[in-house]
């Protein structure tokens, strides 16, 4: 114990010098690699600049008063203690400044939240302590975990360049494409955070949230889980590799070959380039009467139902489990629609996603039944 403490102290003193010698000093947000990120970066700089000006004015006045209106230089105290005009002015001016800030902030926020018409959708699920990535159209799925060896963390080996920011399986996306990330979690809260892509979104068990990014240039962008999720919270990095379209296609093909999912995915990937949403809806429509109004049952399923029905969480019958579904479908479609919309036993109404229309829920039920027949 004592030896360890002494060792620690020694390491501390030494690294105090060493620490200051290496590593780059960074005083602002990371260099942004998305158009939105540039906007956020500029917005942040502008606000800091405005604050700095106000700070200088206010504390300039204060420092002047401290310098000139002090007793030691013989200044006599004045006795004023009110001035309505001045008080109104310094209520109104900050208000106007805030209005000026609110406008660009609103514009940026609206752009940030617009997740419509993505080129690629990846479902990301946070677990203690790894990320699962599922490419919904391509049928690729894998887990991504910290790749830094334990020995580096315990200071036995020298730390590598990407210490704690390296994973076994990176998530690969094409450059210049709008990537929509659907986020959820399997156990506790997590947050998917990649600073250079200006993306951070909480992953909430039982709910699906989304965010998006469109990377401007190829490269490897590293981030971390940003919501406390237990003891290994500091050890679940996010690594996004942005590649050219051609490299991406090769990577997809390779992954599909490895996972043996190529055949299943062909139907969707072929159709994907023109209208990514529509063909999937047609597929579902062939099998399901309600799908016309409800859109893509498969996608709704993936967003709102898969959490439990994919894994059997909370006693949910798993998709594809014919034995479990046979007695249920025997109850009749309307009963199942009713349960899905209104909730049943452990199942929350609409799978917990009340934003869904009834038709969307029905489409998801059709999809689920089609897969489990």
């Amino acid at each position: 114990m004592i030896r360890r403490t002494a060792h620690t102290l020694l390491v501390m003193v030494l690294s105090c010098w060493a620490g200051l010698a290496f590593g780059e000093m960074r005083f602002n947000l990371q260099d942004q690699k998305t158009a939105l990120g540039h906007t956020v970066y500029d917005l942040h700089n502008a606000i800091v600049l405005i604050c700095l000006i106000i700070f200088i004015v206010v504390f300039g006045a204060m420092l002047y008063a401290i310098w000139k209106h002090r007793k030691s230089v013989g200044h006599q105290a004045a006795h004023f203690h009110e001035n309505t005009t001045v008080e109104v002015i310094w209520t109104v001016i900050p208000f106007l400044i805030l209005l000026g800030m609110a406008y660009p902030a609103t514009k940026t926020l609206l752009a940030q939240r617009d997740t419509s018409s993505p080129d690629l959708t990846i479902k990301v699920t946070g677990y203690q302590w790894k990320w699962q990535y599922e490419y919904l159209q391509e049928n690729i799925s894998f887990f991504s975990m910290l790749a830094t060896p334990r020995a580096q963390i315990e200071n036995i080996e020298e730390k590598g360049e990407n210490y704690l920011l390296e994973v076994d399986n990176e998530v690969v996306v094409p450059v210049g494409k709008k990537v929509r990330i659907l986020l959820t979690a399997g156990d506790v809260l997590h947050a998917w955070y990649v600073p250079a892509l200006a993306v951070k979104q909480d992953a909430i068990p039982g709910f699906v949230r989304d965010t998006w990014f469109r990377a401007e240039e190829p490269g490897v962008y590293r981030g971390q889980c940003a919501e406390l999720c237990g003891k290994e919270h500091g050890y679940m990095p996010v690594v996004v590799r942005v590649v050219t379209a051609q490299e991406y296609d090769e990577w997809v093909a390779q992954q599909q070959a490895e996972q043996g999912t190529a055949a299943a995915a062909t139907a969707t990937t072929d159709a994907a380039p023109e209208t990514p949403q529509a063909p999937a809806a047609e597929d579902a429509g062939a099998a399901a009467p309600a799908a016309a109004a409800g859109g893509d049952g498969a996608e709704v399923y993936a967003q709102s139902c898969g959490m439990c029905h994919e894994t059997g969480l909370a006693g949910a019958p798993k998709i594809g489990d014919k034995a479990a579904w046979a007695p249920r479908s025997a109850k009749g479609l309307d009963v199942l629609y009713g349960h899905a919309i209104g909730g049943f036993n452990m199942m929350p109404p609409k799978g917990g996603n009340l934003a869904l229309s009834d038709a969307q829920v029905k489409a998801a039920v059709d999809h689920l039944l089609a897969q489990s027949r």
């Binding site: 590593g23 947000l29 956020v40 006045a61 008063a65 401290i66 919501e227 406390l228 003891k231 929350p348």
Partner: protein
């Protein structure tokens, strides 16, 4: 009249109650209770500070050196809980106990017995929080925000923590009922609301906030408890619960809580600055209105703590605008303080130094708050060290500096002894420099993307973390100097004059002898 009252102050030191420990266990005297609150809060401050030292020691360099991640998470959790509920809040309740009866001309608090209970609830709660570290499984590693479902996974320490929060909440509720009734009902004839020293106003508003939000906290942690043990599903997604609902509830309490801590600090600063500028507070009534507006706004902005949970964009816009609005009344307060100094006749004794330090650093924390209010920017900064830096600027440089200033300011009144002015100034400058060393660099860490609550980090964050740790240890050690200064003043401080501060003008200075007698006002003072 005079004949009857001729001996009024002579009996000031008669203590007819029990002595020794029993005096403190049974006392209903607001001054005893005030002192106990302040000592308790200082003890908790040292305990919470020690936990902060563990955190900073671990973060001194990359890799795990001092503690394992479980202990690290427990340290962040209990550092937060102890500092918020055990150190800062009781410190200002201590000020309230000491000062409010003196400032409004009341013999004591409205409910002296309840006052005693609300203090003696605190030590058991503190013991529970300490005990939680030693039960099987160790302390709960959930952060002071206690977000489920992580809280549902924790061991027995979580239950102890929940009970402790219940007890602390009960204590706060009794304390604030006492304060609200005292300020409203126990004012001496002539002491109208708009003549009260600003400190009383800030506590009146704070007590109102506390009464409004404490049941929310109690309900929130109770639902955590039932989710854990009684198979309810308020927040547990496995049974159809909504973890985000907890965040809404917690921050509905939590944001007003931030102002519950900050508003009495504003009150203390508003007493100190006029005294050392030798000039009345500028814009008294606008100060009152600004404080009240901040309090009202604090109910309407809670979800800016959760911009990344994926709420509808309309909600994000609303919370962004409402949050930005807080800058207006806060700005009014800062401008008023500066205007109070303007054309004054200033001197810079330790209380004034802390008040100026407060003003400077709290405003900085206010600006980073504005940056964080902007949703698209916050999405980058949420749950990073930027947030850690921000709230330490408002909590430490805000509330804590104000409490230090207040203690130096009123110590002569309370004890009749002066502190060592030179050492006091050393305490200020050491605290000021090390505080900035510890926390200013954390802005850069957050901007560059270092998440909070991680025990280990990648190499790009190494330099600033090393600096921050050095600053934090310096800041921590400086507080031992504070303890020494206080003990020295109590043991061998010079006798304080009746009015040690030339410009102090509220009635505890002008109407009461120094030190304040055990019972303050025998004859209601007349306020003109």
């Amino acid at each position: 009249m005079e004949a009857v009252h001729g001996h009024a102050h002579e009996h000031g030191h008669d203590h007819h109650g029990p002595t020794g420990i029993m005096r403190y266990l049974t006392t209903t005297n607001h001054k005893d209770i005030g002192s106990m609150y302040l000592w308790f809060s200082f003890a908790m401050f040292l305990l919470g500070g020690a936990m902060a030292m563990v955190i900073r020691a671990e973060l001194f360099q990359p890799g795990l050196q001092v503690v394992n991640p479980e202990v690290f998470n427990a340290m962040t959790t209990y550092h937060g809980l102890i500092m918020v509920f055990g150190a800062i809040m009781p410190a200002f309740v201590g000020f309230a106990n000491w000062l409010i009866p003196m400032q409004i001309g009341a013999p004591d608090m409205a409910f002296p017995r309840m006052n005693n209970w609300s203090f003696w609830l605190l030590p058991p709660a503190a013991l529970l929080l300490i005990l939680a570290q030693f039960v099987p499984g160790g302390g709960a590693g959930v952060g002071w925000t206690m977000y489920p479902p992580l809280t549902i996974q924790q061991g027995m320490s979580m239950d102890l923590t929940i009970f402790a929060v219940h007890i602390l909440g009960m204590s706060s509720i009794m304390g604030s009922i006492n304060i609200i009734t005292t300020v409203l009902n126990m004012r001496a004839p002539g002491m109208t609301l708009m003549k009260m020293p600003l400190f009383c106003w800030t506590w009146l508003i704070t007590a109102y906030l506390l009464i409004a939000v404490m049941p929310v906290l109690a309900g929130a942690v109770t639902m955590l408890l039932t989710d854990r043990h009684f198979d309810t599903h308020f927040f547990n997604p496995a049974g159809g619960g909504d973890p985000v609902l907890f965040q809404h509830i917690f921050w509905f309490f939590g944001h007003p809580e931030v102002y519950i801590i900050a508003i009495p600090a504003f009150g203390v600063i508003s007493q100190i600055i006029p005294a050392f500028a030798r000039k009345p507070l500028f814009g008294y009534s606008s100060m009152v209105y600004a404080t009240a507006s901040i309090a009202i706004l604090s109910f309407l902005v809670w979800a800016h703590h959760m911009y990344t949970v994926g709420m509808p964009v309309q909600a994000q816009l609303y919370f962004m605008f409402a949050t930005m609005l807080i800058a207006v009344p806060t700005g009014v307060k800062v401008f008023n303080w500066v205007a109070t100094m303007w054309k004054g006749s200033m001197t810079f004794e330790t209380p004034m130094l802390f008040a100026l330090g407060f003003l400077f650093l709290f405003t900085l924390g206010g600006f980073t708050g504005l940056v964080l209010a902007i949703t698209p920017v916050d999405v980058q900064l949420h749950d990073t060290y930027y947030v850690v830096a921000h709230f330490h600027y408002v909590m430490v440089a805000g509330a804590l500096f104000s409490a230090f200033g207040g203690i130096y300011f009123w110590l002569p009144k309370w004890t009749g002894k002066m502190y060592d002015e030179t050492l006091g100034k050393w305490h200020f400058w050491l605290s000021f420099i090390f505080f900035n060393l510890a926390f200013f660099v954390q802005h850069f860490l957050g901007l560059a993307g270092m998440p909070r609550r991680i025990p280990d980090y990648s190499l790009q964050f190494a330099d600033f973390n090393a600096v921050s740790t050095i600053g934090a240890f310096g800041f921590g050690l400086s507080q031992l100097l504070f303890l020494y200064i206080i003990l020295k003043a109590l043991r061998s401080g010079e006798k304080a004059p009746q009015k040690p501060w030339e410009g102090a003008d509220s009635i505890e200075w002008t109407m009461l002898p120094t030190p304040a007698p055990y019972h303050s006002f025998e004859k209601p003072p007349v306020i003109r």
